[in-house]
């Protein structure tokens, strides 16, 4: 595997767990798929349609999200919102995320890391 491809696969791996956090964080109110996709992308989250939509469906089936079809307009749209269970899980995940961020920052500070190596 070429080096940049390897880097890419590590990045994908790193990102995988955090995507759910980003999705839950964006759901301040009911949103439909494409709306959510655009919001995430505009905030710098590198996510594609073919990743987001299956993720939404999975979170829905895990009862972290709730969904409802809106048929009032001429094209039906499925709206997703965070469930009560989802809110609790999101709070716990954020705490965990912050802890992890601190630990990683402590270990991996760039300058120090290179100092230690030299």
């Amino acid at each position: 595997m070429p080096e940049n491809e390897q880097v890419q696969s590590f990045v994908t791996e790193l990102r995988r767990g955090s995507l759910m956090l980003a999705v839950l964080g964006c759901l301040d109110g009911p949103r439909y798929g494409y709306d959510l996709l655009q919001t995430l992308q505009s905030k710098g989250i590198d996510i594609e349609a073919n990743t987001l939509y299956p993720l939404l469906r999975r979170l829905d089936s895990q009862e972290i999200l709730v969904s409802v079809w809106d048929t009032s307009e001429n094209r039906p749209r499925k709206y997703y919102a965070i469930s009560e269970k989802g809110v609790k899980i999101y709070a716990e995940l954020i705490t965990e995320w912050e802890k992890m961020q601190k630990s990683i920052a402590n270990i991996c500070r760039r300058d120090e890391y290179y100092d230690r190596r030299n």
């Binding site: 439909y32 798929g33 494409y34 709306d35 594609e48 349609a49 073919n50 990743t51 939509y53 299956p54 469906r57 999975r58 089936s61 079809w69 094209r75 039906p76 749209r77 499925k78």
Partner: protein, 360 residues
């Protein structure tokens, strides 16, 4: 031609479980149309669809559970069982096929010896290979089916099986405590083949006969019918004990008290079988002496009543049987002794410690 979006949706959803198809289809349709302007042409539609990637990939992402025939949780066990089963059963079938080929070749009248040899080679190779390969494929297939059923019913793939550090196996002594797999499989093949030949001799498929090629061809069984009948259960029972021993060795692959017990039981069963067989009141066919020319009559008169436990020592043939029995018993007991030694000898570390103490 139907709409390209519908074709795409169909190709994605047909790969999903029935119950999810409609919902995922509707959802994807809504999402795709959200990404398109109202008056989108086919090119625009295709551009959006391309962003979603190949239908199989997208369907895979929608799949809730990973789908495996054999899940990673049991894959290693599956492969090791597969190897053993395929080689053992394939090998046994190959050997049986070769024997059947030989019997087949003998069964046909051949005019010239050269023709007979080609026939025997052809028959053994084709029978052996076809039976061996067929059995190996069957074994592989049924092992796989077995594992699939096991996994679907036990939930071994999804649920983490309870595990304790105490369950860890002891590290085998390198090269000392291990029982080589090839040895066990080889032993099993030899056992099956010999038992089969013995049973075939007893039931008359492959009779041990004397043939007089005189003017009137006379074919005469070497052994008495009652003797052959008595042999069959003895052979089968000792073969079952032997097979149990080899299966234990194949599964455990090192000397443990259980393997040792299996070896001892198998050897005792073998000894009992031999004692039982040789203690039959009549062994050889009563008509045998008449079959041979008169000058050999005396020698066979002895054999006729050759029974070790009925006046064996008056009878030279009886003594031969006694010697055979002694050899069988001693080698059987020796094997038991070896098994006990290999199982219960102190590990190498302890021995070297003892040596250290002595040297000090």
């Amino acid at each position: 031609m139907t709409d390209v979006i519908e074709r795409y949706l169909y190709d994605v959803t047909r790969r999903l479980p029935e119950k999810d198809r409609e919902e995922v289809g509707n959802e994807l349709r809504a999402n795709i149309y959200d990404m398109l302007p109202d008056d989108a042409d086919d090119n625009a539609k295709m551009a959006v669809i391309s962003q979603f990637g190949p239908p199989s990939l997208l369907a895979g992402k929608y799949m809730q559970k990973q789908r495996y025939l054999i899940s990673p949780a049991v894959y290693d066990e599956y492969i090791s069982v597969l190897k053993i089963v395929v080689f053992a059963i394939g090998g046994i079938a190959l050997a049986i096929g070769v024997i059947m080929g030989i019997i087949n070749a003998f069964g046909t009248e051949a005019a010239a010896i050269s023709r007979f040899m080609t026939r025997i080679i052809r028959d053994t190779v084709t029978r052996g290979l076809s039976m061996g390969l067929n059995a190996a494929f069957q074994a592989a297939f049924w092992t796989t089916v077995g594992f699939i059923i096991y996994e679907r019913t036990s939930g071994a793939g999804s649920v983490q099986r309870e595990w304790k550090p105490q369950d860890l196996p002891a590290v085998p002594q390198k090269g000392k405590n291990a029982i080589p797999l090839t040895e066990s499989i080889g032993g099993l093949i030899v056992l099956v083949v010999f038992s089969m030949i013995a049973v075939m001799v007893c039931v008359g498929i492959m009779p041990a006969v004397f043939i007089n090629f005189g003017a009137d061809r006379i074919i005469l069984n070497t052994f008495h019918v009652d003797f052959l009948k008595a042999c069959i259960p003895a052979i089968i029972i000792s073969a079952l004990f032997g097979a149990a021993e080899y299966f234990m060795k194949i599964i455990v692959r090192r000397w443990t008290p259980a393997v040792c017990a299996a070896v001892i039981m198998s050897n005792l069963a073998g000894i009992c079988a031999v004692l039982y067989i040789f203690s039959r009141p009549v062994i050889f066919n009563n008509d045998l002496p008449d079959f041979f020319p008169s000058f050999m009559w005396d020698a066979f008169e002895n054999i006729r009543y050759a029974v070790p436990f009925h006046g064996a020592f008056d009878n030279p043939a009886g003594i031969v049987f006694i010697i055979i029995i002694i050899i069988v018993v001693i080698s059987g007991l020796a094997e038991c002794g070896v098994a006990i030694y290999k199982t219960f000898r102190p590990p190498l570390g302890k021995v070297s410690k003892i040596i250290d103490i002595i040297e000090d």
